[in-house]
Subunit: 442 residues, 2 copies
């Protein structure tokens, strides 16, 4: 075959990057489990009609076909690859409701696929890490306050720049627009969502074009400007003089989210009233997350509350969730050399090999080290010693072990090839420094 | 929407099963890393022409299409979902050869897709855990002996029935058939591969139908009957009186594999000369693995040496690898209740809630416990105490924490709801027994 080339939009990491990714995932998982989220995976495919229920994303769906079926009749339902983890999770909850305990909290770390135009930070295949809490019939609003705590702890467990979780509430916006006398709040929300892209005067024009007055447009823009890291945003909203029961509800819920987060992690969460989120299914709190210093790349972690996504007949499972764009986040950090591992291999020790006949002896040393949790390889060939040391050096393996040779006196020795220090050692007792046991994120 | 139903061939686990799967994967990963295998993932898709290079599996490939492209012209190369992890890995090695250190050892744990007819233990989407070692130009045969040690350690780290790794060598078979005067050794191999399905007399007939004599067919069957857990298989082969240089090479390589494994893990590996493996690309050692007590379900872990899979022009990267069929293995064990976790949630402690006003206090206790690695949830609503305890019981959460109430005297208390034992406790110091920290495999 000819040498293959990368596929645009389908990123693949090198081993060192994958090691970093795995440690990131381990830490996310650890935090999710500390909050009682159970792991879950769903199949990669969903029936196409389920995927197409959302207008916006449906254009991006990859459909599947069995090659075998091309000439004949295919007996299957039409399938597509999932484009997020929320739609499959909602389907899973409905399908398995009788076997789950509610409220049900799960995390899910999987690839998703979207056939959109590849560009910086936009992939066709990418990894997401989601948490969601769903309940039967009703979902208490305190879960909307818990989600940012989990995400804050998870992201702050990583050696990455600080994050800022920006929070808003759909009820607050809808109540405000209704109290203002605007007839189609969803339309206004979609317009305000464009604020960062097109600027305030263009937003005002669109609101007026949608039937609003100049004063209404101005009020909408004033609302979108409000931000605070405590409940003081409420005073700023009240000062705009608009009243509506839904507005009150939204303000109270948003205040609880911000204040709960402020006690737990000061500076993490900010009420940011311009946040709208494109997706239709959010009905309460919505979240977006900026990585400080990388704001222009957009949100790395988004979500919100959805009341009607998982429902079948009388069964309704309202939920709230958030999704970390892992590939997007790591792509940004790798591109700017802001995240790496201490070495590109798990191996801590290379056991040298004097001759092919002595391989069994080198294997025994490796087995003794592994039995005590020390990642160990045996040299591939009985090359000259310098070559074996260079083998370790090129891979970032910190220690080379010299077995006692039948032909020389003295016992086993181990060399730290960074410092050159060499000491007598027993494979049943020696340990590397804790920092050298495994590659670490840095 | 109507209540969704499962898709045949696309298994999904319940949370307790996924917890078990994750712990299985953690242990496999741990062993792979102890042997110096670096983690890797490849994209789920490959260009269709690459996937179709193998005749047999190509019928099972799922092809992909962007829904958007249906009415217009699609600008992409034709893509399909990978059906194993070896073909993508070979492509990855060729694509990134300049950035890798050889010999290169990696593990890869990912879903693969095959559009074959679903049946017991055969899925359309399933998880594989692969290890491979590739080198540039040549690959020393001792790696063929190392692979079973890794897999033996990995599988024996799990609370599952014993495994038997059955090993053969393609050179041994080909050399034997050639020494016997048979002209098309690949054809004979394909026939012998059917031995367990169709029996010896049908195999003999097929060999005769392929141009062999009765004596040759008898010799092939005699070879296929040989098995031993040490190098004594060699004597049994020699006793058949066939000679060929390739036969000698194969015997020596197989003897090294069996003897290396015998020193490391007596009883793990058996030279089993009927093992052929269907795939064309194997050129040396081949492996299949039986789960003792589940032999009729076939191999749960297979692989072999391939010399020509990864090659482009003058660059050749021979390799050896093996693949654990994780979904297949777990499906068998789940179906026979042979593998489970101690509880279906990560949560060790439920913090009770006296009133919604006191939620912040319960949150602080939860945060203190989590800070010390104890997975903790706060009760969803301030229900009656009995109801909060039943909430924990239904989920298998072993401990319920009672915060000191503003309205009652005394400090915090924690109750083991299995024994009923309740003690005074400080959220900054109390620890559950180690066995209750996390769900464990059993």
């Amino acid at each position: 075959m000819t040498r293959p080339t990368p596929l645009s939009g389908f990123p693949e990491w090198l081993p060192a990057q994958r090691l970093a990714e795995q440690q990131v995932l381990d830490r996310l998982r650890r935090t999710f489990e500390l909050y009682g989220f159970a792991p879950l995976e769903t199949r990669a495919v969903e029936p196409l009609d389920q995927l197409l229920r959302k207008g916006e994303t449906s254009k991006e769906v990859y459909t599947l076909r069995r090659l075998q079926a091309v000439d004949g009749v295919d007996d299957e339902v039409s399938l597509g690859l999932h484009f997020d983890l929320t739609v499959p999770f909602a389907r899973y909850v409905l399908e398995n409701a009788g076997k789950l305990q509610f409220p049900f909290r799960r995390y899910q770390i999987q690839k998703v696929w979207r056939g959109e135009k590849p560009q910086a930070g936009r992939y066709r295949e990418f990894l997401q890490a989601d948490i969601d809490i769903v309940d039967r019939d009703t979902l208490p609003p305190h879960y909307e306050a818990e989600i940012p705590l989990v995400i804050g702890d998870a992201l702050r467990s990583l050696p990455i720049p600080a994050v800022r979780i920006m929070v808003n509430n759909r009820k607050l916006c809808e109540g405000f627009y209704r109290g203002l006398g605007l007839g189609d709040p969803e339309e206004i929300l979609r317009i305000v969502d464009k604020l960062d892209k097109i600027g305030p005067s263009a937003v005002a024009e669109l609101i007026i074009g949608a039937g609003g007055t100049e004063a209404q447009a101005k009020a909408c823009l004033a609302l979108a400007e409000i931000r605070s890291q405590d409940a003081s945003f409420a005073d700023a909203v009240r000062a705009l003089g608009v009243e509506h029961p839904l507005l009150d509800e939204g303000i109270a819920e948003l205040a609880a989210v911000v204040e709960t987060a402020r006690e737990h992690s000061p500076g993490l969460v900010e009420a940011t009233l311009k946040i709208a989120r494109g997706l239709d299914y959010y009905t309460g709190t919505v979240y977006e997350t900026e990585l400080v210093g990388y704001e222009k790349y957009g949100s790395i972690c988004s979500g919100g509350r959805y009341d009607n996504l998982a429902s079948a007949g009388k069964d309704v499972f309202p939920g709230v969730g958030i999704s970390i764009g892992v590939s997007r986040l790591l792509g940004l950090l790798f591109d700017s050399d802001a995240l790496a591992v201490s070495r590109p291999t798990p191996t801590a020790v290379l056991v040298a090999l004097w001759s092919e006949e002595e391989r069994a002896g080198s294997n025994r040393i490796a087995a003794a080290l592994r039995a005590r949790g020390i990642a160990t390889e045996v040299a591939p060939v009985p090359a000259k010693l310098g070559k074996q040391i260079r083998y370790a050096e090129r891979r970032g393996i910190p220690f080379v072990w010299f077995p006692a040779s039948a032909s020389a006196e003295g016992g086993d020795q181990v060399k730290d090839i960074r410092s050159g220090e060499q000491v007598a050692a027993d494979s049943g007792a020696w340990n590397p420094p804790a920092a050298d046991m495994a590659p670490t994120l840095q």
